[in-house]
Subunit: 434 residues, 2 copies
Amino acid sequence: MVFTDIATRTYNHNWRLDPIVRSLLDTDFYKLLMLQMIRQLHPDVSATFELINRTRGVRLADVIDEAELRAQLDHARTLRFGKKELIWLAGNSFYGRRQMFSPEFIGWLADFRLPEYELSKHDGQYELRFHGPWTHTMMWEIPALAIINELRSRAAMKGRGRFELDVLYARAKAKLWEKVERLSALPDLVISDFGTRRRHGFLWQRWCVEALKEGLGSRFIGSSNVLLAMDADLEAIGTNAHELPMVYAALSDGDDALASAPYRVLQDWSAHYGGNLLIALPDAFGTASFLRNAPDWVADWTGFRPDSAPPIEGGEQIIRWWQEKGRDPRTKLLIFSDGMDIDSIESTYHHFHGRVRMSFGWGTNLTNDFRGCAPFETSGLDPISLVCKVVEADGRPAVKLSDNPSKATGSPSEIERYLRIFGAAGRQDAAVLV
Amino acid sequence: MVFTDIATRTYNHNWRLDPIVRSLLDTDFYKLLMLQMIRQLHPDVSATFELINRTRGVRLADVIDEAELRAQLDHARTLRFGKKELIWLAGNSFYGRRQMFSPEFIGWLADFRLPEYELSKHDGQYELRFHGPWTHTMMWEIPALAIINELRSRAAMKGRGRFELDVLYARAKAKLWEKVERLSALPDLVISDFGTRRRHGFLWQRWCVEALKEGLGSRFIGSSNVLLAMDADLEAIGTNAHELPMVYAALSDGDDALASAPYRVLQDWSAHYGGNLLIALPDAFGTASFLRNAPDWVADWTGFRPDSAPPIEGGEQIIRWWQEKGRDPRTKLLIFSDGMDIDSIESTYHHFHGRVRMSFGWGTNLTNDFRGCAPFETSGLDPISLVCKVVEADGRPAVKLSDNPSKATGSPSEIERYLRIFGAAGRQDAAVLV
C-alpha cells in the first residue's frame, strides 16, 4: 500500500507559479561587489542592460511562453533581501576579509528591489531591456538569464513522462560524475562553480555544486552563486565583470579618456576594496592593447581572468607580459572561465602546472551539459550563448570588443571607433558555443 | 522553506523491518506452474532445497547479519496470497489460455505458507536448507535468493551518503539505458525479465522492468516475476525448471528408469497442461545425451531453453537435431536465459536471426549490473552465482549434471553414477559468472 500525502499532492498540482528565482542572493557574487562600488562612486549613472541571444538559430520567443516569462520576471520583482541573508552578508568573511560590505550598503540593500523591465518580441527573439539607474538595472543580469535558460529547459521537458525524465537526469548525473572523476586526478586543481546564469535549473545547479563538493573536496573552493554559497557554507567566488570597463569607457569624453578607461576601473576598484580582490579582466577591449598600454602598477595585481582568448594562448600572453615587467608568474594567478569544460580544464591545467597559480571558473558546461542525455529527440536542452550586457550608459552607447570578435557587442560605428583607439591586435574569431 | 512531513519522517526512521519480500507472488511464474503439477502428481514427495553459493570467495556469513537474515526469512513466512492476488491468478489469461490454474489449486494456495527453514553458518557461508513437502519447500527458492542478494546489496551500501547512492543509481540507470538503446536496434527482438532471484533489490527490478517496457515496447514481452507482471499488466513468463527432472531422476529405481526420467517429466507436463507450455529444458543431465535418447515426439514440442551450453553452440546443436528429425527450425523456439547480457544477446540474435524463433530471458545482468557504478570502493555490488537447488527427494540424493561441469550439483559418487548413465558428451567447463 502506497500512502500519498494528500496535502502535498494537492499543493503540487495547484502551483500558481514554480518560481525560478526565489531569492535576490540567487545571483553572482561579483554583482554585489561591483554594486557596492557603483553605488558609492557612480550612484547617478543610468545604464541599460539588454538580453542578447548569440545563438540566433534558437528562436526563444517561439520556445518560451511570454506569459510565463512575464510571470517569472514579475515574481523576481517581488523579492527583497531577507533578514537572515543581510545578516549573513554583513557577518560572513569573504576572501578572508570581514565586513566586505559596509553596514550602510547592507542597509541600502534592505530596500532594494529589481526595477521594471521592457519586454517585446521581434523576429522570434525576445527583446528584453532594463533601463534605469546602473545600481538597479545591473542586478537584473543574472536572474534574467537564469529565468530564460530555465524556462527553455522546462519547455524542452514539458509533457515528457516521468520515466524519460528519470533517465535524462540519471544520464546527466552520470555524465557530470565522469567529469568529476577526471578532475579528481588533478592534485593541485582549484575550481569553482560559475554556472548560475546558464544553468539548466536551480535544483540542478545545486546538485552540481554538491557533486563538486563531494568529489573534489578542498579543490572545490566555492560557488559564484551567493545563495548556494550561503546555504552550503561554501566560499562565494568572484570579483568584477566587463560592465565596469564598458560603462567607464562609454562615459569617457574623448579618445584619451577612452583609452585610459580600463585602468581607471582598476584604480577605483583597488581603492574601494583596500587593495583586495585584485583580479583584472583584460579582454574588454582586447587583451593585447590592455597589456601594451597598462601602467606598471597593473603588474602588481594578484592576477588576471582571461575571458575570451583561447586559454593557453591567453595565459601565455599574460605570463610573457608579467615576465617583461619583471614579475614571477609563479606568484601570480590566472582564472580561466570562458566556456571551460573537462578537456580544456585538463589541458590548461597540465600546460601551466608549476608555472603560474591557476583557478578555474566552470560555468555552462558544469551546470547545463545535457547533451546526449535525453532519451527523446530534442535540441532544446543544448546550452545556448545567451548574455545580458550593458548597451548604454547615461545615453551613450556601450561597447565590448573582446578578444573574440564573435563576442563583441555595440553598434558597428562605435565598435569601429573603439578599434581605432585600442587596435585589433591579437583578436581572433572563434565559435562561441556557450 | 522545505516542509517535511513529520509522520512520514518518523515512520521512515522507525521501521522495524524493511521487508524484501512483501508478497508470495514476488516469485517466478514457473514456480506456480510447476507447483500445480507437483501438487497433483506428487503431493507426497518430500524435497530438500539448499542454498549453494558458487562464488566461494564471497563469504556471505561475514557480509550479511544473521539476525537480519532471520528477520527477513521469518517475515516471508508470515505472508499469505492476498485475495486480489488469487482473483488475478484465477481470472488472468497466461500464454493466451484462460484458467491456467484450477479453482481447486487456487483454493489450496489460499492456505499456503512457506515452511520452516534451517539456518547455520559454516566456514563463512550460510547453510540454508528447506526440508519438507516438495509442494512447500520448492516455493522458498526465489524468495530465499532474493532476500540474500538484497541483504548483500544493502550491506554494501550501508552507511554510504545520500549523494554517493544518488550517483550509484544514476550510473546504474544510465548503464541499463545504454543497453536498452542497443537492444532497441534489434527489430525482431523478443525479450523478458528473468531477474527476480538475483536482483539488486525489488525496487531496482521494478525500475529495470519499467525501463524495458518504455524502451522496447512490444519487444519486451513480460516478466517472470508474477507480482510485477500483475502490477504492470505484463505477461507472466516461464514454464519449468531443473527441479522437475532432478526429482524425477532422484526417485527413479534403477538405471533404465533414471535414463528415461527427463522424458517422463515432459510427458507429465504435456498431459497436465493440455499440450501447452511445451518448452523443454534439455541440459539437466547434458543436452547431447538428452537429444540422442529423446523419443521422436519431443521434436514436436514448441522449443527448448538451453540453459548452460554457450548460446550459439547450444542453439546450433538443437537446430541440427530438429533438422535430423525432419522439423523446420523456423517454426521452433529457442529461449536463451543463461547469464545473458547485451553482447551475448546481440551476437546470439544476429547469429540465429531468420533461422529459428528466438526469445531471451534476461536475468542477473539486467537486474543486478552495478559493476563500475559505485563512486566508492566496493566489490559488494558485483553479482555472485548463488542458487537454491533441490538436493534430496524422499531421502534420495538429487543431481544436476548440466552442460557446464561448474554448474553441476550433487555428491561426487552420484554425479559419477549419472555420468555413467547419461554420458559426458558435449559437456564443457566455462566460468560461471552469474
